[in-house]
Amino acid sequence: MTDRGREVVFAQAIRTALREEMQRDESVILWGQDIGVYGGVYGATTGLQREFGEDRVRDAPISEMAIAGVAVGAALLGMRPVVEIMYADFLMHAADAIANQAAKWRFMSGGQFKVPAVFRSPAGGGSGYAAQHSQNIESWFCHIPGLKVVCPCMPRDARGLLKSAIRDDNPVVFLEHKSHYTYRGPMPKEEELLPLGKADVKREGTDVTLVSWSRNLLWALEAADKLREEGVSIEVIDPMTLFPLDLDTILESLAKTGRLVVSHEAHAFCGVGAEIIAQVVEGHMDLLKAAPKRVSAVACPLPYSEPLEKAALPDADDIAAAVRQVVR
């Protein structure tokens, strides 16, 4: 691909994917709180109700269980609902519909049904929304067989992955970072689909493999830049899809570097970082020249106050420190 395209914000990339898929396929329909005239609290659906009408773009009541459950039912009869849960924290209210129903309906029926629903939701902290509006719970959904989980960072990736998620015949949890909707990056003009389950090497390097995703990837890249000046060459991998996880790309990198740092904004305990490390050491410990490391949020609910929130969340310095430890 030669056309890097123009710079757009992350929200625009999401909107582009939704718009393109809605134009392409009538069965793509949206609902969620305030996604109509308001355009979504983060602007990801601005203008879509005007373009596609109130039938295809619906404001929903504060009913997360039904927002998600109705999506499962509609998907069973051939629609492709893409619903927005306003904050990922409220996925907890929709957890039954997503993890008990959407994830299992096909399997339990012996393969009779498909559930092509996408559950979009803004996750993550960094903007002072405090403990109940800031969580990263991607690992919950990764733990449930039957769901795919996508956590993009770059606008271009977000668009290409959301399009694939919408066309995927399996339920997909698609997490966007709430402090990242105004992040700018290039996006090609022409349509582009990116496969779910394929990682992307964001920066090539030879000394350390650094895996990170969602907004936290920015801190990983920042740390890589910083460490380059110190003479450490870091390969930064963005899995983009967390389930299914593209372990191969990580292993390929480890074959070069022998050193692994995983960083995510979610809590460490039972997070996806633990899984990546476990998979690597279980099957490929011989690749490792040093103990792997995780960099993630401090184990407490996210506090409101700025200095506390900063202390709680991982940043480029934390990542750089961990990298320095593994190359020591």
């Binding site: 691909m1 039912g73 051939g78 039954d96």
Partner: protein, 330 residues
């Protein structure tokens, strides 16, 4: 009674018997012989609702049910052998042995599935109705659940959404008086269950669920109206479960004789025999023939199911993921 009506009644009678015999087979034969696992929830006593309501559906309609699904699925025409085989966990089961008694589904009959997570089928049925409406199809969705399900948040959210968006779904609540051991008065602040629809401005009625013709007639009218107007409705049928909640229920929570007494008075199958067959001057021999005929049908399906192979463990994860047609650029 007009001859067509008598025909219909006999048809309903056959269907109710089929469900009854199917479940008696589970209770009296499969249970002691450990031919199924987990638990199986029988609707003995509730067949009139299943048969009356399901027969009021059209071919293009869809249904969602619960853990207590044998009545609905068999009335809709689910293959007896496939249902037995599923409950036995055989590979020829309607869900290839993946689901079991609590999960009977058959896409080809519009049975979108049974949901044993109480209440969770209600938003799903609402979503299916949304799909029908948006696709401009003429079907409706019929969603069955018990009175206990009305206390779930999922029920409330879905009722509002169905009424708000004018979706073609009819909610059929079978009030069999108990949610496992918990009687209505222990779990619901108000016992006029149909009133739960008032807050949504949704039409609702409470009716006798023991008279299959009454169920049928009322459902036909309601389903027809929903079909025409795309407005949801709630029907609450009073019925009773004569057996335990599931196949290992102590029934400690209800007076010993309660079930027997209600059964004597209200068994919906006896009801048909007594009130209608007598009234309609159907030859008693014919009723006996029907019973023998259906019993035979159930027996032979059971025997065939019993011979079916077990699923191959190598196929365990088959069908988990849908093959996607996404083709991604380079």
């Amino acid at each position: 009674m007009r001859p067509e009506r008598i025909e219909q009644l006999i048809h309903f009678y056959r269907d109710m018997l089929r469900i009854r015999y199917f479940e008696e087979k589970i209770l009296n034969h499969m249970l002691p012989n450990r031919l199924f696992r987990g638990s199986s929830h029988l609707c003995i006593g509730q067949e009139a609702v299943s048969v009356g309501a399901v027969h009021a559906m059209e071919e293009e309609d869809y249904l969602f049910t619960t853990h207590r699904n044998h009545g609905h699925t068999l009335a809709r025409g689910m293959d007896l052998e496939g249902a037995f085989a599923e409950i036995m966990g055989r590979t020829t089961g309607v869900c290839r042995g993946r689901g079991g008694s609590m999960h009977l589904a058959d896409a080809s009959l519009g049975i979108l599935g049974a949901n044993p997570v109480v209440g969770s089928n209600i938003p799903m049925a609402t979503g299916a109705a949304l799909a029908l409406k948006m696709q401009g199809r003429k079907g409706i969705v019929v969603c069955f659940f018990g009175e206990g399900a009305m206390n779930t948040g999922a029920c409330h959210e879905a009722f509002n959404m169905a009424a708000l968006w004018d979706l073609p779904v009819v909610f059929v609540c079978e009030n069999n008086k108990y949610a496992i051991s918990v009687a209505e008065d222990i779990s619901m602040s108000d016992h006029e269950l149909q009133d739960r629809a008032v807050g949504y401005g949704m039409e609702s009625y409470r009716l006798d669920g023991m008279n299959v013709l009454e169920v049928y007639d009322f459902c036909s009218a309601t389903f027809g109206r929903t079909r025409r107007t795309s407005r949801p409705a709630l029907l609450v049928f009073d019925t009773y479960r004569f057996v335990g909640h599931h196949t290992s229920d102590s029934e400690r929570y209800r007076p010993k004789d309660e079930a027997i007494e209600v059964f004597r008075e209200k068994d919906p199958i006896h009801f048909v025999e007594r009130e209608f067959l007598e009234d309609c001057h159907v030859d008693p021999e014919q009723a006996v023939d029907i019973r023998i005929d259906i019993k035979q049908e159930v027996e032979s399906a059971f025997e065939r199911a019993l011979e079916a192979p077990w699923p191959d463990p190598a196929t365990l994860t088959q069908g988990l993921w849908a093959e996607s047609e996404v083709t991604c650029g380079d």
